[in-house]
Amino acid sequence: DTAVSQTPKYLVTQMGNDKSIKCEQNLGHDTMYWYKQDSKKFLKIMFSYNNKELIINETVPNRFSPKSPDKAHLNLHINSLELGDSAVYFCASSPLWGQAFFGQGTRLTVV
């Protein structure tokens, strides 16, 4: 059983399109996250969501929006995609005390 799963694994799309990445965790964790990993491998936190409290990294453009239908899901919606959005996006979850568990990543390529 996959603990944190995200889909799709790969996403190639044109500039200007809107796309979503889905994430689900079956660990019963309280907090879920979205990270962006650029070509230099830096993992930058974008959002965290805990009991309906959303913490947003202020540097994230408002074209990015997280949506959490329930505690086990945190989807990422991106509007008007730009070339610079190309990266690997990781979903993660954690309990209130302990390590973060990562999904396998979604490689987004904007052409």
């Binding site: 230099k40 993992l43 990562f102 990543g105």
Partner: protein, 110 residues
């Protein structure tokens, strides 16, 4: 601003060498320091450190936290080609946020 800095950025060693990776942090309401290994896909957990001076060990890997110096090191002895990866350090705060460093890319040559 919360930040985590790792050094060196990259390292190339020969099999059998011992390496030390460094991590320093400035994070408000610090709670713990974590190390992850990332090969081709998702980061995988190595260690979580909460107390200063207590070494955690797993096989050839070990790590220790120095809260006074706001730093941690990850040691790998007798390196193998399978140790080639990016090693990520993360500082965890009481708000349950994880702040990652830039990573150290380790390449072990046979």
């Amino acid at each position: 601003e919360d930040k985590v800095v790792q050094s060196p950025l990259s390292l190339v060693v020969h099999e059998g060498d011992t390496v030390t990776l460094n991590c320093s942090y400035e994070v408000t309401n610090f709670r713990s320091l974590l190390w992850y290994k990332q090969e081709k896909k998702a980061p995988t957990f190595l260690f979580m450190l909460t107390s200063s001076g207590i070494e955690k060990k797993s096989g050839r890997l070990s790590s220790i936290l120095d809260k006074k110096e706001l730093s941690s090191i990850l040691n790998i002895t007798a390196t193998q080609t399978g140790d080639s990866a990016i090693y990520l350090c993360a500082a965890h705060n009481t708000g349950n946020q994880f702040y990652f460093g830039t990573g150290t890319s380790l390449t072990v040559i046979p």
